[in-house]
């Protein structure tokens, strides 16, 4: 979706403000939002692409006005209700109306190290033929899907060159919509700064974007 989360190239969003000796969390509620997201995510009722999409669904003005973990909180509340772990009434009253369904994989402290150290996530072993190889020219499609996508707006319609083929991965656009993994090649595509930003940009610089095969046409 063409949301405000897709920020690459925007102006007017203020200065970058690094904080010396920044703590990992600034408030206790941030710790809790972080941990609640991970813990409920491990129950397995949704995937990481659905999590990202749920944060993108926060209305634009609110997204810009709020901090990072507020985006996470918004998405979490949405998913808990949408995936049936919490009812709308429970979310409103903040009181349980009944126990959770049986058979859920609730995260226990002893599971944490193993779950966090899993080395398989989005990469897949499927033998999917690659449409492109390193050095070939491509053009990013000018598409504007309403759902989740990882093709940023600033690259759409632009010409680049395949830098490398990362291999086969879960396709987030489908996965976020609950349409399965639909394995696709993911490529690093090199776009010159001038192709993206015009003649004012440095002739030397480049932006590398990881793009899934369905986002690309041959140039």
């Amino acid at each position: 979706m063409n949301g405000v989360h897709d920020m690459g190239g925007m102006h007017g969003l203020g200065p970058v403000e690094p904080e010396p000796n920044e703590p990992v969390f600034h408030h206790d509620w941030e710790r809790k939002v972080f941990a609640l997201n991970l813990a409920t995510g491990f129950i397995g009722k949704w995937n990481i692409d659905m999590s990202r999409y749920s944060r993108e669904l926060m209305p634009g003005p609110e997204y810009l006005r709020t901090s990072y973990y507020e985006h996470w909180l918004y998405g979490l509340e949405l998913l808990l209700v949408e995936k049936g772990l919490i009812t709308v009434e429970e979310m409103r009253s903040k009181r349980p109306a009944g126990p959770a369904p049986d058979g859920l994989r609730v995260l226990r402290p002893d599971d944490v190290p193993r779950r966090l150290r899993a080395i398989r996530a989005a990469r897949m072993d499927e033998d999917v033929p690659a449409k492109f190889k390193a050095g070939e020219g491509v053009v990013a499609r000018n598409i504007h899907p309403m759902g989740h996508t990882r093709l940023p707006r600033y690259a759409r319609g632009k010409r680049g060159v395949i830098d490398r083929d990362h291999g086969v991965f879960i396709y987030p656009d489908a996965h976020a919509a609950g349409l399965g993994k639909q394995p696709q090649h993911c490529y690093s595509v090199r776009f010159s700064a001038r192709e993206l930003w015009g003649a004012e940009a440095s002739s030397r610089d480049a932006i590398y974007i990881d793009l899934f095969e369905p986002y690309l046409d041959p140039a």
Binding site: L13, F25, W29, L36, T40, P96, P109, L116, R150, P152
Partner: protein, 214 residues
């Protein structure tokens, strides 16, 4: 939480109303999830402790220092970053598929996630606020040299800036240039010089200042 009256005496602490609201909203959500048996509070503590005290940029600094000391390790790191980083025990969530980008006298790499906050957790920990916030996400791709300048890094015109937008599940770690004057340092001493920003590509590693003669 409107319509709720509190008669405790902490209403006038520094935190403004929005924070109080958030604190209450999150606390209520947490107890709801715990009461329903969806979340084990001890597991929450373990998750928080892991990312607050165990995982952080010191991990990445050890990877960088080892690559500076050991040319064969550097080679493995550039060819297959995930397995080379796993040799040091840094594996798992948000670092499953790693790519290492080597800075050279001709190329300066920097990493961003314009769409959200993708970041290599096992080697750098959780990202700083600026990395996740709108200014960096919007500007890193359109004005990388301007952003770098604000971080105190001036990239000469004859050096190519490559910005890597982490839009998929690959996670990027910059291998910064080893500063001159560090030839005599041991691996652990080198690791102490390596900053988080240098591994994002918004900083450079500086040699330690020579000790002033007394």
């Amino acid at each position: 939480m409107s319509g709720h009256h509190h008669d405790h005496d902490h209403d006038d602490v520094d935190a403004g109303p929005p924070l109080d609201d958030l604190q209450l909203r999150v606390r209520a959500l947490e107890s709801l999830l715990v009461d329903k048996g969806l979340v084990d509070p001890t597991a929450l503590d373990t998750l928080i402790d892991t990312y607050e005290t165990k995982v952080g940029p010191r991990n990445g600094a050890r990877v960088v220092a080892k690559a500076w000391i050991d040319p064969k390790y550097r080679q493995r790191l550039l060819e297959n970053a995930s397995t080379a980083i796993a040799e040091l025990g840094y594996i798992g969530r948000q670092g499953e598929d790693m790519v290492v980008l080597e800075n050279t006298p001709k190329v300066h790499n920097m990493v961003v996630c314009t769409l959200c906050s993708c970041y290599p957790w096992p080697v750098l920990g959780l990202p700083p606020v600026w990395y996740k916030a709108a200014p960096y996400r919007s500007r890193a791709v359109i004005d990388p040299r301007g952003v770098l300048k604000e971080f105190g890094v001036t990239v000469p015109d004859d050096v190519e800036v490559r910005v890597w937008d982490s839009t998929a599940e690959l996670r990027y770690l910059v291998l910064p240039e080893r500063p001159a004057g560090t030839e005599g340092l041991r691996e652990e001493q080198l690791a102490e010089l390596v900053t988080r920003d240098a591994m994002i590509g918004t900083g450079k590693v500086e040699a330690p200042r020579p000790k002033a003669k007394r």
